[in-house]
């Protein structure tokens, strides 16, 4: 890995945090894809995961908590030449930002979304997140979390997402490979990355994940939706990682002629004569 392209910057993450590996894997994936930093835009919300754009020398947009997807989608619409990647937390993506997730999947803009899923709110010091297991005790959930945990893989598959994958920050090589596939996918791709939070999640630790995750075999066919759904339901003793579901379909840009063809929106020259013509409607 060429350090000069993506130098190591100082982070504010805890030593041992799963985020470090995610950052490294992302840099490696971009090198595999031969992306220059200036061609890439990393977008985030707010949280520990949300600090990632600070630590990589690509373009970066750190927005509001829960609101990473809308600006990411719009930036891609504005400039299709940008490789747009979202890095955000589970609270950010599935909690505060849940509505954008649903509708971004439906919109199918060609961006890649990495959810750093530590099953906890890290930055705000350890409240339950939408993916926290039932019974997970925190300061705000003294009786343990009561809500059914959200299964982002299932959700994405049934909403029609064309690329649905899970990875584990403890397996950086595999993570990188999945990232590369996700970024290559034409359309919205969701990768939920199991990410141990060593400071606040004392349940879902490295050990816990290590005991459970297994890679989907080569015989697994991610094109079969019902099978994918069945596979995505696995959570507990065994947790599959890899590409759970994959489907090629036209992305947002493919459906709009003038976006698909010619220069990116940002570079298109406006024909003022055409606009003037519109006044005729009002005669």
């Amino acid at each position: 890995m060429s350090q000069s392209v993506f130098p190591n910057l100082e982070t504010a993450w805890c030593p041992g945090c799963g985020n470090h590996n995610i950052l490294s894997a992302l840099k490696e994936a971009l090198i595999v894809l031969d992306k220059k930093p200036y061609e890439v835009l990393v977008v985030s919300g707010i949280g520990q995961a949300g600090k990632l754009p600070q630590y990589i020398t690509t373009n970066g947009f750190c927005g509001l908590h829960g609101r990473a997807l809308p600006p990411a989608v719009a930036a891609k619409i504005a400039n299709k030449n940008l490789t747009v990647i979202v890095n955000s937390g589970d609270g950010d993506s599935y909690g505060e930002g849940g509505n954008h997730l649903i509708h971004t999947i439906r919109r199918n803009v060609d961006i890649t979304h990495f959810v750093h899923d530590n099953q906890i709110y890290g930055l705000t010091k350890g409240q339950a997140s939408p993916t926290s297991d039932i019974g997970h005790v925190t300061d705000v959930q003294p009786n343990g979390s009561n809500n059914m945990p959200l299964n982002p893989m299932l959700l994405a598959i049934v909403l029609g997402c064309g690329f649905v994958a899970r990875a584990f920050s403890g397996n950086q090589e595999h993570l990188k490979a999945v990232m590369v596939e996700g970024i290559r996918h034409k359309g919205y791709a969701l990768i939920d990355i199991l990410q141990p939070c060593v400071s606040f999640n004392k349940v879902n630790t490295y050990q816990w994940y290590n005991d459970r995750v297994y890679k989907l075999g080569d015989d697994y066919e991610p094109e079969n939706k019902l099978k994918a759904i069945e596979k995505a339901m696995e959570w507990g003793e065994k947790i599959p990682i890899g590409i759970l579901y994959r489907e090629e379909k036209p992305d947002f840009h493919a459906k709009i002629d003038f976006l698909m063809n010619g220069s990116p929106l940002v570079d298109k020259v406006i024909d003022m004569e055409k606009i003037k013509e519109f006044m005729k409607d009002f005669r």
């Binding site: 373009n59 970066g60 504005a78 940008l82 954008h100 002629d257 298109k268």
Partner: protein, 558 residues
């Protein structure tokens, strides 16, 4: 002469089409037109109406007194009869059972049936109206042919013809000049202004009375090659617009008070990230869902002080469709120049009401993106938040310069966009952002002054009430006793105070005229200038304040 005709009935009976046709015909004949729409928040039933005011002279307001009523149901007559002039007229179908000397009870429906298309009865009525005004047939066919396809077109023309035969001539009015105007409402004018500014991305979520802007832009999407995206909610809408603007295209979003409430967090983001943004806020009476289809100016302070913390921002109130076009265009230039959110405030009265104006002059406007012309590289480093005297940092489009990154942050940050915890840097950055307000003050447009110099009474108003107040000043001055003037504010934040201070001196009475209950603008003026209004003309029942009502309130011991 000015005439005022009302078309009323239950929703779904076709008043929109009737009003559209009558407006167009009158306009093509060279009249000045001012149309107001009053509708309920429902799709069928209830009571809605249009008021078409037309004249052979300039008009700047709707009117309360009616010359004619076209009644599609009895309720229309009952509701509006008290406003009908003694020598006015009513046109209604013979089936409507009502007694009034002014009523022409006509065979609208049966005539339509004879023509073979029961839907054309409205144009039978319009034919009768044209006859009453002794207006000839020229131009009618064109309008009908533009609106209707196939056999409906000749049927509708026939309807006009038949209607023409049903009544005698009553008035004599002739337009003074050839038609060279356009007939447009506030929503369309805003949309056109944005297009003229080079808008490429509009994201919004439907909300009355802001939906008209999105509708117009969407209709032009393919031709203009712009993206109009219906977001899942207003939060997505504004955050999308910010993302698009960050990526380099001119972007806008629009909504009404309730949706704007969901956007205020991101307005702070736009200010913090220094990403230019134009937001349209179309007011309606609130709080909460309130009166969705009616008008008010109750959001003034809410909008001016929207966003947590202290941020640079500009707020411009739109006066009428013409102003809306030019100011929307200006908003984009200002947003780009200062890298701030610029908020355009309108209301239902502005959005929905149609009037004649001169075609917009594209030669008067110029688009300036204010992008940095510098070439940056690994050696000449780019600092997104470089601290400058003006508070504005060089802006470049991400993804264009190898070796250069554009890092934009929501946390407090240093010149590079890196998160900081330093108090010293915080002070510098906060100062830098707020410094823009100083320079922005030099950009301000003073309010428009109308009326007599050395007025005894000076009205202060803002936004869409400008024209009704202007007309009221004219009416009041024509009475000859006292001298009246008015300051019609467009820019409201920061508040331009030069003309106000100058004109305010020596005036006997300062009266704020506002479409709200507590006199928000008067309070803003007091806050910004120390100047205190002496009394207020306020209205907040959801119906627009007319020049006539202002005048009559002045009579009423004001």
């Amino acid at each position: 002469m000015i005439y005022n005709i009302l078309i009323g009935g239950a929703a779904g009976l076709g008043m929109e089409t009737m009003a559209f046709i009558l407006e167009k015909i009158l306009k093509r004949k060279g009249f000045e037109i001012f149309v107001t729409q009053d509708y309920m928040s429902r799709v069928r039933g209830g009571h809605n109406f249009f008021q078409i005011r037309f004249a052979d002279e300039a008009i700047d307001s709707h009117g309360d007194e009616l010359d004619g009523i076209i009644a599609l149901d009895k309720e229309t007559i009952q509701t509006h009869l008290n406003r009908l002039k003694a020598d006015g007229f009513i046109i209604a179908d013979e089936e409507i059972d009502f007694r009034d000397a002014r009523l022409y009870s006509l065979t609208l429906k049966s005539t339509a049936k004879t023509i073979g298309n029961s839907k054309v009865f409205g144009n039978v009525a319009l034919g009768a109206v044209l006859k009453l005004f002794n207006l000839d047939f020229t131009g009618i066919e064109d309008v009908i042919n533009e609106k209707f396809q196939g056999e409906a077109a000749p049927q509708n023309i026939k309807a006009f013809n038949e209607g023409y035969k049903l009544v005698p001539e009553k008035y004599a009015i002739q337009a003074k000049r050839k038609d060279d105007q356009i007939l447009i409402n506030g929503s369309e004018a805003i949309a056109l202004g944005a297009l003229a500014a080079g808008l490429k991305f509009y994201s919004g979520y439907p909300m009355t009375p802001a939906t008209g802007i999105m509708n117009y832009l969407a209709a032009k999407m393919n031709e203009a090659e712009i993206i109009v995206e219906q977001a899942e909610d207003e939060i997505a809408a504004i955050n999308m617009a910010i993302g698009a603007s960050y990526a380099g295209v001119r972007a806008m979003t629009g909504t009404s008070g309730g949706g704007f409430a969901l956007m205020v967090e991101a307005i702070g983001l736009s200010a913090m990230q220094e990403v230019p943004l134009v937001i349209v806020e179309m007011q309606r009476p609130g709080p909460a869902t309130g009166f969705p289809t009616r008008t008010e100016q109750g959001d003034l302070k809410f909008v001016i002080f929207s966003s947590p913390a202290e941020i640079p921002k500009m707020v411009i109130a739109l006066r009428d469709p013409e102003d809306a076009f030019y100011q929307t265009h200006r908003a984009f230039n200002l947003a780009d120049k200062y890298q701030i959110p610029v908020i355009l405030m309108g209301d239902q009265f502005l959005a929905d009401n149609t009037r004649t104006v001169s075609p917009f002059d594209f030669s008067k406007i110029k688009n300036n993106r204010h992008l940095s012309q510098q070439i940056y590289s690994e050696t000449k480093e780019y600092r997104r938040y470089e601290i400058t005297d003006s508070g504005v940092s060089p802006r470049i489009i991400p993804g264009k310069m190898p070796g250069t990154r554009v890092l934009t942050e929501s946390h407090e940050h240093d010149e590079y966009g890196h998160i900081t915890e330093s108090g010293t840097i915080r002070n510098k950055m906060h100062d830098k952002r707020l410094r823009k307000m100083i320079y922005l003050k030099a950009e301000l447009q003073e309010p428009i002054f109308v009326g007599e110099e050395n007025a005894d009474t000076l009205f202060l108003t803002w936004g869409s009430l400008s024209n009704p107040v202007k007309e009221a000043v004219k009416l009041l001055n024509s009475r000859g006793k006292d001298r009246y003037g008015a300051l019609l504010f467009g820019d409201i934040w920061p508040l331009p105070d030069k003309l106000l201070t100058e004109k305010g001196k020596g005036v006997k009475r300062l009266i704020n005229v506002e479409q709200n209950a507590t006199g928000l603008f008067a309070s803003l003026i007091r806050d910004c200038t120390g100047i205190q209004c002496d009394s207020s003309i306020l209205k907040y029942d959801g119906r627009p304040l007319s020049s006539q009502e202002i005048v009559s309130r002045m009579k009423g011991g004001e």
